[in-house]
């Protein structure tokens, strides 16, 4: 079961103390192989009789198209862009992830608040402001972080999508060399990810190896997270209101 624990205050409209599903997040920089492993993991889970919802940034019905339009213009200030992303994030949490968890599915999230925090922080937004903003985010059952260095990342980026404007920091780094900005931006971003990894206890997987090696490590971790999904308490019990102590622990501002 997924305990209903939040990074900050419990957001309005969310009830109960736990949900029978599992929230598994795959984090990592662009090109590290997240989407490949998620595609493999989805099938792997379904083969074990577990229903899967997969979701990722900008896939909300509400704000997805708006963000895509805004990014094409390349003109938004970081605060507006981050709040736009936050809108998209909450919409997916509320309308995709919570219902899936309530139904007893595994929700697989391709990136979570951490990518958004890391990207914003290196563009000069304060980390405190970002972490406060995402206080409404549900704490996942597991955050799997695919860790890589720039040297190993380069061939993957070249063989998949090439150098993306935003993923090489061209929106704010002064150099006109895409290669230089890519190396600088990703080095910076990976440092930020590692800071978040230790702060939020990510399950770190070395993603420098081959696809079979990485997937073995991922599926081993997921196996632990989904173990016992059949033996959880029935939904009616999980949805009971949290005890007084638990409520005060998640709602400190109401005291």
């Amino acid at each position: 079961m997924t305990e209903l624990k939040f990074y900050g205050d419990r957001p309005p409209g969310i009830e109960g103390r736990a949900l029978p599903g599992r929230l598994i997040v795959i984090e990592g920089t662009d090109g590290v192989g997240r989407s490949t492993h998620i595609a493999l993991l989805k099938e792997w889970l379904e083969d074990r009789g577990i229903a899967v919802l997969d979701t990722g940034l900008t896939r909300s019905e509400l704000a997805g198209p708006g963000i895509k339009r805004a990014k094409e213009g390349n003109t938004l200030d970081p605060f507006t862009l981050n709040l736009f992303y936050a809108t998209d994030f909450w919409d997916r949490l509320e309308r995709q992830i919570f219902p899936a968890l309530r139904a007893g599915m595994v929700a697989l999230a391709d990136r979570y608040i951490f990518s958004l925090i890391a990207r914003a922080v290196i563009r000069g937004v304060s980390p405190e402001w970002m972490e406060d903003l995402y206080g409404f985010a549900l704490v996942p059952d597991c955050v799997i972080y695919l860790d890589i260095d720039v040297e190993h990342l380069l061939p993957r980026v070249i063989s998949s999508t090439g150098f993306d404007y935003w993923e090489s920091g061209q929106d704010f780094l002064p150099s006109t060399s895409v290669f230089d900005t890519f190396v600088e931006y990703q080095t910076w971003l990976l440092d930020e990810f590692r800071r978040l990894a230790s702060r939020h206890e990510f399950h770190v997987i070395d993603a420098r190896g081959s696809v079979p090696e990485i997937f073995r490590a991922i599926s081993k971790q997921v196996e632990e997270v989904v173990a016992g999904m059949g033996q959880d308490a029935p939904i009616v019990e999980l949805l009971e209101e949290p005890s007084a102590e638990a409520a005060s622990a998640t709602l400190p501002h109401l005291e």
């Binding site: 989407s35 493999l40 090439g162 060399s177 290669f179």
Partner: protein, 253 residues
């Protein structure tokens, strides 16, 4: 070794040139597949394909808005975008870049349209110098035959109709391609292009290309070992969501 601003690049740039119907794209495609099968990291870049610029070029061609100067400039803009966003970063990272047409296409076509050759060379001075540039040499009659066989309607600029060489598109095409071919002859000497006999068998041409490319491949970056296919086999999966993922990525790119 390919170089940029006098600086050696880790990657290698190979270029094909030639008039329409010379078979250069077929040969480059075969080379591309061979290099990939050898585990090399390959990036392909085609003339006139910048995602930012190409719609403007298309609009200009469709509405016949391009004069010789604007024709030259819009193609240079397309090329500059591809150099800075695709070609140069891939070469700096150590990959192989294959270009279907390069600056020599602009040098030939724009010279035919009356632009100064010196000016063109200065305009394109930001280009990366290729490791090898192949020129696919084909007799005019053979090229015209190949094009007319497969493609009945010639486009306005493709046939050089903007040059008012002839009223009949086919006749104009022939004259125009002949003029470009004469320009290429000069370029082969000026830039040491590798002349390929484009009337030779496809198999022999490919063999020759590979032999010429091979000595340049020492120390070039290879792709990671351990494929997705190995994972599928090991885990007993079929990969039913992989295609969808790939498609989304392509749409993104």
């Amino acid at each position: 070794m390919s170089s940029y601003n006098g600086q050696e690049l880790r990657g290698r740039l190979f270029v094909v040139e030639g008039i329409d119907g010379s078979g250069k794209s077929t040969q480059l495609d075969l080379l591309h597949k061979w290099l990939m099968s050898q585990g090399y990291l390959v990036v392909f870049s085609e003339w006139n394909s910048s995602p930012i610029v190409k719609t403007t070029t298309k609009r200009g061609k469709k509405r016949h808005l391009l004069s010789p100067v604007s024709f030259s400039l819009i193609h240079a803009a397309d090329f500059a975008n591809r150099i800075h966003a695709e070609i140069l970063p891939a070469l700096q990272a150590g990959a192989i870049v294959l270009a279907d047409r390069y600056v020599y296409t602009a040098f030939a076509r724009d010279a035919v349209r009356g632009l100064s050759k010196d000016w063109l060379r200065r305009l394109y001075s930001f280009a990366v110098k290729p490791s090898l540039a192949f020129y696919f040499d084909v007799p005019l009659d053979e090229a015209v035959h190949r094009i007319m066989e497969g493609r009945p309607a010639l486009k306005f600029y493709e046939a050089g109709l903007d040059l008012e060489l002839a009223d009949d598109p086919e006749e104009s095409f022939r004259i125009y391609q002949g003029m470009i071919r004469a320009e290429y002859e000069q370029l082969v000497k000026e830039f040491d292009l590798v002349r390929m006999n484009a009337t030779d068998t496809l198999v022999r041409q490919q063999k020759q290309m590979r032999e010429l490319v091979m000595p340049h491949l020492k120390g070039v970056m290879r792709a990671d070992g351990g494929s997705i296919r190995d994972t599928l086999k090991e885990q007993g999966l079929r990969g039913r969501y992989l295609l969808e993922t790939l498609r989304k990525k392509q749409a993104q790119a």
